[in-house]
């Protein structure tokens, strides 16, 4: 009996030690909530990201990253940023996120009343921004909405039925469908333990179950023109004042082709022009930065420098570009 107790106690202590270690070296989640108007969002609390970069994020009571704010404060000009993990930016510190960079640039130019709200949520896609995005806008009443897009939004997330919102095609018609799947009762509890978050991550890595259904098929569309045009039309219809920023994926080892726009980016640029949606593709800025400094805007020292999420350089340049885009559009 004593022998088995010793075994159990030793195992328990080892698990406890790893829980503590993992919360700092792997990460910690605050858990998730499914809300009727916002879909699945990060629960208020602390998120530690350590697998890629290292940063501590605080999710406030409005389910957005950053300090608490008063929703009734009418003196603020609010810019709502809808996006995925690139916007949430859990890999970098709060001050480094492009939302804070833009906000501080406005403040530096005498517009300290401009508040840029980081509503980025992990794993979201275009259909989410167009559906639940309206829920965010109705709730937070922004003067301007910025939608952040990236390659995965169109190559894997667009039609992915595993997302809480996705695009459905019937004939030539595209429409948004919401995923009726209910959140597991345990989903709110389990992700809080780092050891379980890590185990889930390993399971997904080994089985590929974390990848979107369309990514597994590996059949990239031959044209994005229809999807891009539809998205811009819907964005314009959903939000009276909207802009789109695109964070490209870059192959820094092919420096000569860094400035060449892939098919998707051409389609998005043309669609934005046709629909009159202010649009910024970060490719030229990121390419120029790499030409000048040899430092990629993607990746971190603890992962692959050059791939993955954007790093501090990427956020700074995106923040500056967003400021340049919004400055003429927001009244002082």
């Amino acid at each position: 009996m004593a022998k088995w107790l010793r075994v159990i106690a030793a195992f328990g202590l080892a698990v406890l030690c790893w829980e503590v270690i993992l919360s700092f070296v792997s990460g910690r989640s605050s858990g998730y909530l499914k809300l009727a108007n916002l879909g699945v969002v990060a629960r208020p609390g602390t998120i530690i990201e350590a697998r890629e970069g290292f940063a501590v994020s605080h999710i406030n009571s409005h389910y957005t990253r950053g300090a608490e704010f008063d929703i009734e404060d009418k003196s603020k000009q609010r810019v709502l940023v809808l996006g995925d993990s690139y916007s949430m930016a859990a890999q970098v510190s709060e001050e480094e996120t492009f939302e804070r960079v833009t906000e501080s640039l406005f403040a530096g130019h005498g517009q300290s009343n401009v508040q840029v709200i980081n509503a980025g949520q992990f794993g979201k896609g275009p259909a989410y921004y167009l559906s639940y995005g309206k829920g965010w806008a109705d709730w937070l009443q922004p003067q301007f909405v910025v939608i952040q897009l990236n390659e995965g939004d169109f190559t894997s997330d667009f039609y992915d039925k595993g997302k809480d919102a996705y695009v459905k095609r019937s004939g030539n018609e595209l429409s948004i469908a919401l995923n009726p799947k209910k959140q597991s009762r345990f989903a709110n509890l389990l992700p809080r333990l780092s050891i379980l978050t890590r185990a889930e991550y390993i399971w997904q890595e080994h089985t590929g179950s974390g990848k979107p259904a369309s990514a597994k098929k590996k059949t990239p569309p031959s044209s994005f023109a229809e999807e891009a045009r539809w998205f811009m039309q819907q964005a314009k219809a959903a939000f009276p004042h909207v802009a789109v920023v695109y964070v490209p994926t870059m192959d820094y080892h092919n420096e000569e082709t860094l400035n060449e726009l892939p098919l998707l980016e051409v389609s998005l640029r043309e669609a934005a022009q046709a629909e009159g949606v202010p649009y910024v593709d970060m490719r030229p800025q990121y390419a120029q930065h790499y030409h000048e400094t040899k430092q990629p805007c993607h990746g971190f020292n603890n992962t692959h420098l050059g791939s993955g999420h954007i790093n501090g350089y990427g956020h700074r340049l995106l923040g500056e570009a967003l400021y340049a885009l919004l400055n003429p559009l927001l009244k002082p």
């Binding site: 010793r6 106690a9 030793a10 030690c17 993992l22 792997s26 890590r198 080994h206 080892h253 692959h304």
Partner: protein
């Protein structure tokens, strides 16, 4: 079937069960041979025949050498045996290389190219069978009692793919002991295996994520990043290869068989001679016993000794792979050994040894070893030269600056693995009867489960 795979766990469990259930020692050894062939067949079933053929051939050569009474006849048989074995290796590994080299010597004349699949571990196997027949010829070892002993010397699965290179003198007595699977054996072997797994999965595979990325486009990175990548590769190859050796030793220990160690803290070496006494010991001692001594060693004067050293290391380099950069790697080590010999026999004798000198010697040895790894890792000689030039700030040194943080985090673990690898047999051992021992075991198992990279890198030495 890599040691760090789930297939191996199933394979080994099955083998242990059979060894536990079967009572006859004869049957156990046949099972061991059959399972070793099965293990090899996992890579390419066609080459199991080659493995068996080499065993039959060398068993025959061994018998003929042993039975021949005339020394000339004995010599003829050993020459024939060595030539036959080297021909097999030469055909599979070097045929296309020599063809390509000859083609460039003839000013690019097209000489064709054969599509030859390299049988896994052919270099290790060839050296083992050569040592078998040469030892009989020299009278330092008795011939095998039966064919099965030679077949197991070649095919015994723990060492089959990447060594250590076994010697008949050491291994045959082991085979003549009963194979006993006891709790004590499992405990001892299991801990060695676990140590190897930690080195491979937690250190080598994690560093490969950085090393592979940088070496894919080395000239895109800054000089400082190249230095980090070179150091990381030095650690990676040590943990990968010594990890494999530990797992091989551990697997053999579980069956009650002993395999000699292949590494004894190589990165504490203070000179290149010491490095080769500590690094890949089974290869360096093989090269010494069968090549260096056969060439005359140090018996024919100083100049000849230095030439012999260079030749041995050049061929040692070529043993690793059919490419000029492996030759350069071997040549650099040969030169290092010659320079060290000259130093110790000349100026070194008059310099009093102190801590500063030891520190400088260690640093110089490590820098030298790391630079030679560049030629080992990059098979394109001119690309490797460009990397070394950039590392020494010759030309453009700019590029992506990547300070891979895991390298710094892993350093204490590398030091620990270095020490534990050597002390494990004697002092450091987990006592699973205590709370502390159990805690350490669970902690390590959880580390392997939670912290192993999702895409394990193949063992580096599998390619040889």
């Amino acid at each position: 079937m890599a040691f760090s795979s789930i297939q191996y766990v199933l394979f080994f469990t099955l083998l242990l069960t059979l060894m536990k259930v079967v009572k006859s020692e004869e049957t156990k050894k046949w099972i061991l041979l059959g399972m070793s062939y099965l293990f090899y067949g996992f890579w390419d079933v066609r080459f199991v025949l080659l493995l068996a053929g080499m065993s039959v051939g060398n068993y025959y050569f061994g018998q003929r050498i042993h039975l021949a009474e005339d020394p000339k006849q004995r010599k003829r048989w050993v020459m024939l045996g060595v030539t036959a074995n080297l021909s097999v290796l030469g055909f599979f590994k070097y045929f296309n290389f020599f063809l390509a080299s000859l083609s460039s010597l003839l000013g690019g004349k097209e000489l064709g190219h054969l599509h030859i699949i390299l049988p896994v571990a052919i270099s290790f196997i060839t050296f083992e069978v050569i040592s078998y027949i040469v030892d009989i010829y020299r009278g330092t070892s008795e011939p095998a009692k039966d064919f099965r002993e030679v077949a197991l010397l070649v095919a015994f699965f723990p060492h089959l793919i990447a060594g250590p290179i076994l010697r008949p003198k050491q291994f045959f007595p082991e085979l003549r002991h009963p194979i006993v699977v006891t709790g004590e054996n499992l405990l001892r072997g299991g801990q060695f295996f676990l140590l190897g797994l930690v080195k491979k999965v937690l250190i080598a595979d994690r560093l490969s994520m950085f090393v592979d990325e940088v070496y894919q486009h080395p000239l895109h990175y800054s000089a400082a990043t190249l230095w980090l990548a070179v150091i990381a590769y030095g650690i990676q190859i040590f943990c990968d290869f010594s990890g494999y050796s530990d797992m091989a030793i551990g697997s053999a220990k579980c069956l009650g068989l002993e395999i000699p160690p292949n590494f004894t803290m190589p990165y504490i070496s203070k000179n290149i001679t010491e490095f080769w006494r500590r690094w890949h010991i089974s290869l360096s001692s093989w090269l010494r016993d069968y090549l260096y001594i056969s060439l005359g060693g140090n018996r024919k004067g100083k100049v000849r000794q230095y030439i012999n050293l260079m030749l041995v290391m050049l061929l040692g380099g070529l043993w690793h792979g059919a490419s000029w950069s492996f030759m350069v790697w071997g040549g650099m080590h040969g030169l290092g050994l010659v320079v060290h010999k000259l130093w110790t026999e000349g100026v070194g004798k008059r310099v009093p040894e102190n801590a500063l000198l030891r520190g400088v010697s260690w640093l110089m040895t490590m820098v030298f070893v790391c630079i030679t790894w560049v030629f080992f890792r990059i098979t394109d000689f001119s690309a490797a030269t460009q990397v070394v030039r950039k590392m020494f700030f010759m030309g453009d040194t700019t590029g992506i600056g990547w300070t891979y943080s895991s390298l710094l985090i892993l350093l204490p673990f590398v030091v620990a693995a270095h020490i534990v690898g050597v002390k494990h047999g004697s002092k450091l051992r987990l006592n699973l009867a205590t709370f502390g021992g159990l805690f350490c075991l669970f902690f390590i198992l959880l580390a392997l489960l939670l912290w192993s990279p999702s895409q394990p890198a193949p063992f580096i030495y599998f390619q040889f």
